[in-house]
């Protein structure tokens, strides 16, 4: 599964490290060290995925994201520093798919990339998702874990389906609320907390030592079996 990846990052050592890591995975890498060049390359080369640093010398990474989103849905993975929580969330709202926090490990980055690139190779979701003993059948709204029926309600099933179809990827609260409860409920995060808790109980997942559902504090959730 090789892909063309654009790295927009002003720091040369990080670019070098990313090139080494990505090319070892079999990806083709192009680099840009300013926002302007990043936008230009994204337009010219139409990459399969963009790794975008939020702090660029000539403009905000967000500017690049918004420009790119005007013509393409190419997945964007944000590289953020932990202090820039606000910028990270803004980027997710503006259409970025996921983020990693610097400093990140290669393994973590590659796992995220795989999650994003899967969508590219499998644009239409199948009727049945299978994840590490969890089987979710969309046709009859049934989910089983190790063959045991989870007996999910409609909303619980929708939530699990949403998370599972983005397995390994961040799903923001905003996204979940809009998709399941409708745009009018975008702020009602307490619904979401309650449903996540119920889903955890049914999955036999412990919030204090999670195996299935991982919370990204203040941002959203990630279904990551076997992490």
């Amino acid at each position: 599964m090789s892909a063309r990846i654009l790295v927009v990052e002003d720091d040369a050592p990080i670019r070098r490290f990313l090139r080494v890591a990505l090319e070892a995975e079999g990806h083709a890498v192009t680099e840009a060290d300013t926002a302007r060049e990043g936008i230009a390359r994204a337009a010219r080369e139409d990459p399969d995925l963009i790794l975008l640093d939020l702090g660029l010398p000539d403009a905000d990474g967000l500017t690049v994201l918004r420009a790119v989103r005007e013509w393409t849905q190419t997945p964007v993975l944000i590289l953020s520093v932990r202090d820039a929580d606000a910028g990270k969330i803004a980027a997710l709202d503006a259409g970025a798919q996921d983020y990693v926090t610097k400093p990140f490990s290669t393994g973590e980055l590659l796992a995220r990339l795989r999650g994003l690139l899967r969508d590219r190779t499998r644009p239409v979701a199948p009727a049945v998702l299978t994840l590490d003993g969890l089987e979710i059948d969309r046709t009859d709204h049934r989910a089983t874990l190790e063959g045991r029926d989870l007996r999910l309600t409609r909303k619980e099933f929708d939530l699990l389906w949403l998370l599972a179809s983005h397995a390994g990827r961040l799903v923001t609260q905003d996204m979940i609320l809009k998709a399941i409860w409708g745009p009018a409920h975008a702020e009602d995060s307490q619904y979401l907390r309650v449903y996540i808790r119920q889903l955890r109980v049914k999955l036999g997942d412990d919030a204090g030592n999670p195996r299935w559902i991982f919370t990204e504090p203040g941002v959203g959730y990630r279904l990551a079996p076997g992490t």
């Binding site: 400093p103 490990s105 307490q190 808790r197 919030a207 204090g208 991982f214 919370t215 504090p217 203040g218």
Partner: protein, 884 residues
């Protein structure tokens, strides 16, 4: 003499009385002051002005001047009454009213009419006359005023039956006080110019006592003064009489012989001030008493404005005091509570007897007993020190032995001779216990001789024939000396113990004062006042200021010292030894200076001087030494704590800066050294796979450590600038704990972790990102310090409006006494390059974050025995900012 006052109230009252005659009362304190004469004089003036004046009744009592006054006026014939076989005359009210004069004179307002008259009382007749539109002049003695009747009876012991209601006085248009100083009245009495009624005649000696007259005079004045009569005030001013004052509530303080009594004086003064009454002090003296009656208290009473009287009383002064109190119209008696003494109940002294007497007899007075603080202190004073051999002591011993001999002589016929030595021995023991060792030995020797001389045959010689008697005598001498000595020793021990107790008490007093003092100046003040009070001297305290000694405080206040004194103080301070008056150095100075030294450091010098120029006694010096030590320590303590506070303020910033520098140089460099070293090692071509992996993991772990450190520094900077605004949303603490654990999964991989946060716990309003950081820091710390494999527990519960969240372990626990410090920046358990890896910022950040949420954080032990570390936070369930 103006009849009316320009007083609107009076004018109103007059309007009400239109058609009614005006009443003027000539008020006197006692018979004989000249009321009738004054009334007649006033009436004569009215007659001279053209008014028709008619005398209804006037008692001239045969006095020539009075009769001369009557002669110029018309007299209404009196109405005859047949009473008990005699013809008596009474005022003819009907005739008086029918005559319609402008002014009628009716003497003796309090007079009781004979039965068969129009009214029982003359004042009722007067009312009728007034109602008929006729002015009335009348006379009245103050003891006849109804409400004053009791008071007068108490003062004079004479109760009058004829009384006039106060209402009559109140309705009088004018009251004129006829005042005659008691001395003049007594003069007139002696000259036979005062007519005394029969009933009063029996008690005339009592009634016309000067004290009575004075009290009555005051009573009369007060009664008149109550009318706020301008005319009266003029009169009083002219006669320089102070007033008005209520005469019924005087306070008397009694100062018995030998009492301290100053507190009693103060209490009396205070009560008098509060009640706005006059107060008196009586000092008791007796001819053979200890002399001055409480001189300090007396002086104090005088200074505070008491009317002081010396009362010389032989025997029981109770009666004298009560008589005085009655005369002076006292309501309350204040006296010092007799100092409790051993055997005081059985053998009362003069004070005890006085109190008992007052309790029994002073039934119509309020008694106030005041416990004297000074007396209580004085009681603790040790008994007189052992008597040095003196003529006086020897005389007392001889006297006692001779007295014993007299007793022995008297009982000799009744008891066997052999019991007599016991009598002497008792005397010896008594002398030993009262006077000490040498008097006891002397008494024993003297007793031996006397006994030998008088009671052993041959009598009246010092020879002894009988062997048995010789033995008795020798044994008697030995036993007397022995028991006398024992008694003396016992006494010495008691003296020593009391002296110690007294000294300890004084020192304790000071340390209590010094401990309460919060500043240097307060300690100085406590020191000088205390030393001055304890030794009865002037006290001054000097401390170095620059290179000279300056006065820090003095009692009584003093702001300069002479050159001799200053150089003595200087020498004392420089050499750390006493100097000045009574010492070996610079003895010409007026003051004695003692060095104040604490912990090898000279703090200053304490100077004392006695008003009479004497030197400090040896016992004073011992106490003084202990006191200077205490003063020095107290001053040192306050100075140290001042210094400490000062240093703390100025060095906080400095300390942080240097801590940051050392932290940066150490914590930033150490991981870099490892990373660079490992990187170099990786360049080596001949590397085994294992070594390579090991080196790589070093690079990764050290890199992570560096990242954490930098993150902490950044967080801390943000917290320090107050830039951290928690974005609080309802958060699930169990989730946050789970994520923190997940983030640290690599360093926590082999460690049992128990997340005990209830799954159904209510969400807490926190910033999830920051709170996760807190939990990460706490878990990281616990993992670092608890020791490998030791379990870590995260727990939470809700109590009221707050949630409590904790992270605890079973490791060795916090270093003792560090529960507060652990939250300080750059604080680390252990020093140097030992276990304490990390910047010492983790907990400081936690505290910053928790406090930004309106919560609190503290560190304690997990288990009661002190082992295990536990960090506990309380957080508001709803964040005030988001709730609002």
């Amino acid at each position: 003499m103006p009849d009316t006052r320009p007083d609107p109230e009076a004018l109103l009252a007059e309007a009400r009385r239109i058609g009614r005659g005006r009443l003027k009362i000539f008020l006197g304190a006692a018979p004989g002051v000249g009321k009738t004469f004054a009334m007649l004089a006033a009436a004569a003036r009215r007659a001279g002005a053209g008014d028709r004046v008619l005398i209804g009744v006037v008692e001239t009592h045969g006095r020539a001047e009075t009769e001369a006054m009557v002669r110029g006026l018309t007299v209404l014939p009196r109405r005859p009454f047949f009473h008990a076989g005699r013809i008596l005359h009474e005022l003819d009210v009907d005739a008086l009213i029918a005559a319609r004069p402008d002014l009628a004179l009716i003497d003796e307002l309090a007079h009781s009419n004979l039965s068969g008259s129009r009214h029982d009382k003359r004042w009722q007749d007067v009312e009728d006359v007034l109602a008929a539109g006729i002015d009335v002049y009348t006379t009245l003695n103050v003891q006849h005023v109804e409400t004053l009747n009791d008071t007068v009876a108490r003062i004079t012991n004479v109760r009058v039956r004829e009384t006039v209601p106060d209402r009559v006085l109140e309705q009088a248009d004018e009251i004129e006080l006829i005042d005659l100083p008691p001395d003049e009245l007594l003069e007139r009495l002696r000259a036979g110019k005062v007519y005394v009624q029969d009933q009063a005649a029996r008690a005339v000696a009592n009634f016309f006592a000067k004290g009575n007259l004075t009290a009555l005079r005051e009573l009369a004045m007060r009664t008149a003064a109550d009318r706020i009569d301008a005319q009266l005030q003029e009169h009083m001013a002219a006669h320089a009489i102070a007033g008005p004052w209520p005469t019924q509530e005087r306070i008397l303080v009694i100062l018995p012989e030998g009492a301290v009594g100053r507190d009693a004086v103060r209490i009396a003064k205070r009560s008098a001030d509060r009640a706005r009454v006059e107060w008196l002090a009586v000092a008791l003296t007796s001819l053979n008493g200890p002399g001055d009656p409480a001189p300090d208290a007396l002086r104090l009473a005088e200074r505070l404005g008491a009317d002081v009287t010396l009362l010389q009383a032989e025997g029981d002064p109770t009666a004298e005091i009560l008589a005085f109190a009655q005369r002076r119209n006292v309501r309350r008696i204040v006296l010092p509570r007799p100092t409790p003494r051993p055997w005081g109940r059985l053998v009362p002294n003069a004070q005890d007897r006085l109190l008992r007497g007052l309790l029994r007899h002073a039934v119509q007075f309020e008694l106030t007993l005041v416990t004297d603080q000074e007396a209580t202190r004085q009681r603790r004073r040790p008994p007189r020190p052992a008597m040095a051999p003196s003529v006086r002591g020897a005389a007392i011993v001889c006297g006692a032995v001779l007295a014993t001999t007299l007793v022995a002589r008297l009982i000799e016929p009744l008891f066997p001779v052999v019991s007599l030595p016991l009598l002497y021995m008792t005397t010896v023991v008594a002398i030993g216990s009262r006077m000490g060792r040498w008097p006891a030995v002397l008494a024993a020797g003297f007793s031996f001789l006397v006994y030998n001389f008088l009671f052993t045959s041959p009598y009246y010689t010092f020879r002894i024939w009988n062997r048995g008697q010789l033995l008795t005598l020798v044994l008697f001498l030995a036993a007397s000396i022995l028991t006398g000595n024992l008694a003396a020793r016992l006494r010495e021990r008691v003296i020593a113990q009391r002296a110690i107790a007294d000294r300890t008490g004084k020192l304790y007093d000071f340390s209590r004062k010094a401990a309460a003092a919060a500043s240097f100046d307060e300690v100085v003040w406590a020191a000088v006042t205390h030393v001055a009070a304890v030794l009865g001297c002037r006290t001054i305290l000097l401390v170095p200021e620059g290179d000279r000694l300056a006065i820090a405080g003095a009692f009584p206040p003093e702001d300069r010292l002479g050159p001799r004194e200053l150089s003595a103080a200087r020498w004392c301070f420089d050499h750390g030894e006493p100097a000045g008056h009574g010492s070996g150095t610079l003895p010409a100075a007026d003051w004695l200076f003692l060095p104040l030294t604490a912990a090898e450091r000279r703090i200053g010098a304490l100077g004392i001087a006695f008003d009479d120029g004497r030197s400090a006694r040896a016992s004073d010096r011992r106490l003084l030494d202990a006191l200077t030590d205490q003063v020095a320590l107290a001053l040192e303590r306050i100075r140290l704590s001042d210094d400490l506070a000062q240093t703390r303020v100025t060095s906080e910033a400095e300390r942080l800066r240097s801590a940051l520098l050392s932290s940066v140089s150490h914590d930033l460099r150490t991981p870099l050294v490892s990373i660079l070293g490992a990187a170099e090692g990786l360049e080596e071509p001949s590397l085994t796979e294992d070594t390579r992996t090991a080196l790589l993991s070093i690079v990764r772990e050290e890199g992570e450590r560096l990242d954490r450190y930098i993150q902490n520094l950044l967080d801390m900077t943000r917290l320090g600038h107050g830039a951290l605004k928690p974005n609080a949303v309802p958060s699930d603490l169990r989730e946050l704990a789970g994520m923190a654990r997940h983030r640290l999964r690599r360093s926590l991989k082999d460690r049992p972790i128990d997340v005990g946060v209830p799954a159904d716990m209510a969400p807490v309003q926190v910033d999830p990102v920051l709170m996760e950081q807190v939990l990460v820091n706490l878990l990281d710390n616990a993992a670092k310090y608890a020791g490998p494999g030791v379990a870590i527990r995260i727990g939470a519960r809700v109590s009221g409006a707050r949630a409590t969240l904790w992270v605890e372990d079973d490791g060795p626990g916090l270093p003792p006494g560090s529960a507060q410090q652990v939250f300080d920046m750059f604080w680390r358990a252990g020093q140097g390059d030992g276990r304490g890896t990390g910047a010492g910022l983790g907990l400081a950040i936690c505290r910053g974050i928790v406090e930004a949420h309106g919560g609190t954080i503290r560190a304690c032990a997990t288990h009661p025995d002190g082992h295990g570390a536990r960090i506990e936070m309380t957080l508001p369930l709803t964040n005030p900012e988001t709730a609002a």
